[in-house]
Structures are given as structure tokens and as C-alpha cells.
Amino acid sequence: SNAKTASTATAGAGSGVPGGTLKVLGQADVDHLDPALGAMVGTTSIMRAISRQLISYKTVDDAKERLVPQGDLATSVPTPTDGGLTYTFEIRQGAMWDIPSGPRQIVAADFARGFKRLCTPVQASTMLGYFTDAIVGMQSFCDGFEKVAPTPDAMTAYVEGTPISGVTAVNDKTLTIKLTKPAGDFAYMLSLNNASPAPVEALKYVPDSPEYRSNYFSAGPYRIKSYTADKSLILERNPAWKAEADPLRKAYVDTIEVTFGLTADAVAQQLQAGSADMSLENSSIPTAVLEQMRATNDPKLTTIAAGRVDPFLWINTKTSNNGGALQKLEVRQALEYAVDKAAIVQTFGGTQNAKVQNGIFGPGVIGYHDFDLYPTSGSKGDPAKTKELLAKAGVTNLTLKLPYRTKGLEPQIAQTLQASFEKAGVTIQLVPVNPSDYYSKFLTNHENTANGTWDIAPVGWTPDWQGGAARSVFQPQFTYTGTPQGYNYVDYNNDKANALAAQALASTSPDEQAKLWAQVDEAVMADAVIIPLASRLDTLYRSARVQNFTPYALSVQGDWTNVWLKR
């Protein structure tokens, strides 16, 4: 019956054909199978199918329209009142939980519970910081939660008994959220799967525990049929879901089968051969294969930008290696001139796959603009200038430790960087690092930073959401409030940039926001703590039988809930 409703509902969208099994291939397993915790981009595709949020997006080809917030579980996107501090949502009727006792309407209280679950002590969400900052009373709720005994009963009692003062379920249909300060991007934040509602039954389980995974409560068009870690995830239709209560998802296919653990090569091969349909990761096509697809003008290939600055180099301003040379601004600026960014772009397969990047915000993020504080001809680097500046700074024989992940193109990028720097007379020691150790061992561990375990480190950053996402680039990486932050490896802080950012966040005019964020960008770049290298476009590929392949902004991948299969 679902299939029928789906097909009738999509009559307008063209000749959508319901049914079939969508085969998706993934390289890595999901990071979490819990909307509160899922943060990996690939996981977002799954969350699109098995969870719903207040706000979401249409999946369309037009890059602008794709980023316009739409009501999902909210009937519409509200305009904030109270000087931008209060949001009032009307909950869509007919949207149901899939719970063992039978379908049940999703109500306003479920959203409050969803926020509360974010700060479960054992398994806190990585996105938690944004919400505690933004929502009134969230911080104190979370502080209280930490003191609760880690038993399901005590935690349930706390969650159900303690309100977040800024989140109110006025009635089942109405939800209000009060903000600590105006936030022009709050609607975008609510589109994250981390802001999903949670049914009361979810409290019986530790977030993302194996028990939770096997008793998952779906709100989306699909639910989990089976999950085998590292191997497969099979989604089947959620009988509680109603097409008419979901304006954004059509849910044509009957089953979605995700297989994990393949190499990027294998994924590409299988998509080409048609034995699988889509890829879980974005940019999983090896450049060589991409090259070939481009040569044949393969229509199944699409490219989109997701604001990803990847890679860029962090410069360790805390190390005393090389006599503390990197602590000097002139030295860092000298290094900015050294890198052949064009070569990095070439490594990604040329300008069709990546663009030279000169600022902290990637294309697509509000605040991105074309500028270069350290221009070199053709962005190919200027070794002579570097040498000159280094000489001026009185630094000779610079030897830098450059760690890199032994994964994908990263060894190649590291070698390319090495080649660039060596042309400029800077010696690079490559330090291969196990991919999963990379952040924990080298970067987030502040001791390593202070001890000089690394000097310059290539990293990548994707904004946590799309569109008005400058905050999710700037705040975690370039602000320092006294307590070390995970991704601000060198405790970088710039008061001028902070002030500009605060203005931008309070602003409601997109144009003004853009201007202010652009100034933030330039202010940070003037300090030369990072060397932006390239912004990568994501290349998406699918099998020939996939139809209506339109990207979902958050997963940066074709939307599983809107494709159909040609048979």
C-alpha cells in the first residue's frame, strides 16, 4: 500500500517507478546509527531515510534551491520572533513513529527529548556545542546530566523529569525554542540529523548501543531490517510512514542494501559495471577512473560543491622546533608562498575536481569570496619569495615534520607538498600516520602540538551543515575561549575576527552576513596559521539504472529517498 501511495504522490515528479532494491556500497561502516550522534557525511544519507527533522531540504539539481530550508516535520519554516530569539514550530500531523506498539504521531515533546539525548554523558554528540551555545537552558541541562548515575533508569528519570528551559512543548502540535542570542543560521542547524526527535522508548537504550541499533525507532520512510557491523545495512519500508505526511521524500525503492568495507576502486568498478547503484561516500571515484568518465562524457557523473576546504595546512605555532621559527608571523607568511596549489589541484584530477583555495571558507559557504593575500603566479608557488622572506626573518635550514594519513590521495598530497617546500629550501619529514590515529594522535592531543610532534599538518574541513555554515567553519577551528578545543589545534584566537563573527551571526541580512564573514576570512588569513590549498568538488556517480538522481545537500550525495530504478 505504501508503494501505491508513493507512486500516486509522485505523479508530478515525472515517471517515478516504485519498487526494487537500491544497492549502495560504502568504504567505511557508519560512524553511528543514531541520529543524535551520526556526524559522518555518509551516515547522513542513511539518516535521511530513517529519520526526520523539523527542517530539511528539497533534493533538486539547482544548487541554490537545494539549500533553501523547508519544513519537514515542521509544517513550515517559521520566522523568528522576539528579535530573532524565539522560534515557534507547528508539528506536521500524520508523521508517525515506528514503534512496536504500533504507529504513533510524532509530538512536540519528542523534539525536546531529542535535544536532551544529545548530551547523554557516555555518548555525547559531537554537535552538542552548537546547541548548548544556541538554546537557552541547554547548557545547564547538560551540566546536570553529567551528575546522573549511568543507569538507564536514572537517566530516563532525569531526561523525563528535567526540562530544558528554552525548549517548550506548548502542546503536542506546537514547539517553541528560545535562543540565547540571535542566530541567522539556526534553521540550518535544525536540519541536522542531530536535531531529530526521539520517542520516549529510545531512553531505554544507551545512545547508539548495539541494543539501540537493533531496536531503532524510525520516523523516515525506511527502517532498519538488519545491520551487520562493517558488512551490511538493509533498510526496508517503514509501514508507519505516510507519503502524504512527507513533502520531501518520495521513497520509490522498496529496499536499500548498504554494503560496507569495499575499497574505493571496488566501489567505482561495481558502479560502472552496474552491479551496485550508488556510493555511500562522496568523492569515492578514483581520479583515474574519473578521468576516463570525463573523457567519455559519462552522463552518470555529477559534480557538486559542498564548501569543503580540503586540504589545508595547519601551522603549529606552539612548537619550539627550529628555534620556534613557526611562531614568527613572517616565517608563516613565507611558507604561504611556498606551496604549489595548482599541483594539489592537479593531484585531485585537475580543475574539474578541485579549485585553488585561498581562504578559510570554501565555495558555497556564505562568506566565501575570491581573494589571495599571498598571491603567486598561477598559484604555483613562489619558492624564491619564500626563500627571500625566510632569509629576511633570519631563518635557515627549516625542517618541518609533516604527518599525513596513509589513506586515499593523502600520501600523494603529502609528497607533492614535500616537493613544493623542498624547492623553497624547506626540508619536510614525512610522518605516515594510521588514518584513525591521525586526529587523536597528532592533532587533537595538545601535548603533541606543544612537543612539536608535528609542524605542519594537512587536514580537511567540511562545514557541519550547508549554506549559512560559516559559523561551523570558524567557531570550532579559529576561536579560543580558554579551554582547548578539539579542532583548534594551536589555540588560535583573533579578537578582531571574533567581533566580526559575532556581528555576522546577529545579522539577519544575507548580504551583510556575507560581507562580514568575508572580513573574518581575511583577518584569519592575515595571521597565516593555515595554508589553504584546495577546495574539492564532490564527484558523484551512480549506476545506469538509477533515475532522478538529485543531491541532498547534507549528504552531498544522491538522495536515496527520491531515486527510482529503471528496470
Binding site: 557491523a229 568495507g261 569495499l262 575499497t263 560502472q272 594510521n434 594522535k441 587533537t444
Partner: protein, 322 residues
């Protein structure tokens, strides 16, 4: 009585091997740099969270205590829980087993079917063209690094035909036997062949060497003097005696491969135990790595025990010793 004692001593040794192995892996990871708590808690975890994770996993207890509880769990068949997804390691490994098993069983059948006859044919007429051909095959097979052969056959047999529009072989991947036996076999043909070619070579050589040795034995002359047909002399008399070293080699190979045909699984993207090993290493998922290494050891020990049993059956001298 002697027999049972022999077997008991073999079992005892197997246990020692496993114990040593467990100690090795445990110490390796205990002494290793890097923080497992951070690996579990994720990159963005704060210090309190890390401490909590350590507490939960018992990572802050003394090493001896940790090892004891590890061994205790092990004895109950419990290899602990994966850092990555909190699932029991035993289950994760059991889940991968059918893939590796399919690969190995098919490979064994194929490589024996290729290697042993070549070896016998070579040994029957040493120095002839046929022998030379067999020897050349064996040398090539032994010298071919598995991943080079794998990459080359993927390129030549899969990629080129597929690009040319005549797909012969399916791309990498695994289809469970229970799901579609035909597809299962079809997907495994290239891995099987690759595995078989590089391994058959060893068997061809070993068989040839053993057969040459046995064919020089006095009892082979006796068999010929009895007027037996050459076939019977070769297969019933000579091959019978040439078998024990082959069985040993087979035991070693099967044991090692069951613990993960790492290279083949990597090249062909098969989600077997070897693949699990590589992914767990990349994810620093220590319980899983420990589990995989130990299970690999268990396979080797178990298969070697089977080999010992086969020896008892094969060798009249051991069998009749009492």
C-alpha cells in the same frame, strides 16, 4: 596409550602457542603508543569523557589484571567488544568467516587439482619437456607476488573486457553462497584462480620433489618388479608415501589462509577475515585486531592438529605404535 599421549602433547603445544600469541598481542597493544580510549570516544571527546571510557573498558586497571580478565573472557569464548561498534568481536569474526572459508576451500580444491598432477607428471619424467614446463610453471607461480598477479588479472580479465563492452568476469565483491550459489562461484573465480595459481606452484614443486625422492625408493622397485601397472605404482605406492609432506604444507597453508587471506581479500575486495584485519588495524580497533590474530592462531593450531591426526592415519608406524 602412546598415541593419545602424542596427541595430548600436540594439543598442549597448541595451547602454548595460543597463550604466547595472546600475550604477544596483548602486550603489543598495551605498550603501544596511542590511546584506545580516544579511538573509541572519537576525536571530539573531552577529557572527562575519555576518563569515563577508560573506566568502562577497565583501561586504567593494572596490566596484569587486565590480561587476566582478558584471558578469563577468552576461555568463555568471549573476545571482548569492538571499540568501533561495541559488538562482540566473536560475532564480527564469525560473520566474516564464510567469506574467507569460501575463498580458501575453493582455492584449496583448485590448487591441489592444478599443483599435484603437475608435480606428479614432472616427477615421472624428470628432465623432459613436460618436466621443464611444469617446473617453469612452478617457478613463475612461486615468484609471482600475489598482489601483482591479482592486479594484473583484474586489469586484464575484468577491466579491459568490461571497458571494451564484453564483461566476462564480475567486479570484485562477494555474494553469499546461501543467496545465490552461481553468483557466489562466479564472483570468486578470479580470487580462487589467483590464490590457486600462486599456491599450486608450491605444491607442484613439493609434489615433484617428494615423488622423485619416493620413486628412488627400493619399495617402488619392488612394486615394479611385482608387475604392477605404472599408474598403480605411481598413485598407490609412490604418491601414498609422498603425501605426508603435502599434508603438512596443506595444513600450514589452510591454517594461515583461514586466519585471513589478507592480500587476496584486499585486492578483490572480499569482506573476509583478512579484510577485517586490515580495516581494524586502520581503525586501531584493538579488541578486533587481537581477536583476529588469536583466531588466526586458533585456525593454525587447529588445522595442525588435524594434520597430526592425518599423520596418524597416514603413517602406519605411528598408528601401530603402542
Amino acid at each position: 596409550m602412546k598415541l593419545s599421549r602424542y596427541l595430548l602433547s600436540r594439543i598442549g603445544f597448541g595451547l602454548v602457542v595460543l597463550f604466547a600469541l595472546s600475550l604477544f598481542v596483548f602486550l603489543l597493544f598495551y605498550l603501544a603508543p596511542g590511546d584506545p580510549a580516544r579511538a573509541i570516544a572519537g576525536d571530539k571527546a573531552n577529557n572527562e569523557l575519555l576518563e569515563q571510557v577508560r573506566q568502562n573498558l577497565g583501561l586504567n586497571r593494572p596490566i596484569g589484571e587486565q590480561y587476566l580478565s582478558f584471558i578469563g573472557n577468552l576461555l568463555q569464548g568471549n573476545l571482548g567488544f569492538s571499540f568501533r561498534n561495541q559488538l562482540p568481536v566473536t560475532g564480527i569474526i564469525l560473520d566474516r568467516l564464510p567469506v574467507t572459508l569460501s575463498l580458501v576451500v575453493g582455492g584449496v580444491v583448485l590448487w591441489l587439482a592444478i599443483g599435484v598432477p603437475i608435480g606428479i607428471a614432472s616427477a615421472r619424467r624428470p628432465g623432459t619437456v613436460r618436466d621443464r614446463a611444469g617446473q617453469t610453471f612452478a617457478l613463475l607461480g612461486i615468484s609471482f607476488p600475489t598482489f601483482v598477479l591479482g592486479m594484473m588479472s583484474l586489469y586484464l580479465l575484468y577491466f579491459l573486457p568490461t571497458r571494451a563492452g564484453f564483461p566476462i568476469f564480475p567486479p570484485s565483491g562477494y555474494v553469499p553462497l546461501t543467496e545465490d550459489p552461481l553468483q557466489w562461484a562466479w564472483h570468486l573465480i578470479l580470487p580462487w584462480t589467483t590464490l590457486a595459481l600462486v599456491t599450486a606452484a608450491i605444491y607442484a614443486r613439493l609434489t615433484r620433489g617428494q615423488m622423485l625422492e619416493v620413486l628412488g625408493e627400493d619399495y617402488i622397485r619392488t612394486a615394479r618388479a611385482k608387475g604392477l601397472t605404472e599408474r598403480r605404482v605411481i598413485y598407490k605406492h609412490a604418491f601414498r608415501s609422498a603425501m605426508p609432506p603435502l599434508v603438512t604444507q596443506l595444513g600450514n597453508d589452510v591454517g594461515f589462509l583461514l586466519g585471513g587471506a589478507i592480500v587476496i581479500e584486499q585486492v578483490y575486495g572480499l569482506p573476509g577475515i583478512g579484510n577485517l584485519a586490515v580495516t581494524s588495524v586502520q581503525a586501531q580497533d584493538r579488541p578486533t585486531i587481537i581477536g583476529v590474530v588469536l583466531v588466526g592462531g586458533i585456525f593454525i593450531v587447529a588445522v595442525n592438529l588435524i594434520v597430526d591426526l592425518c599423520y596418524v592415519l597416514l603413517d602406519s608406524r605411528i598408528r601401530t605404535a603402542s
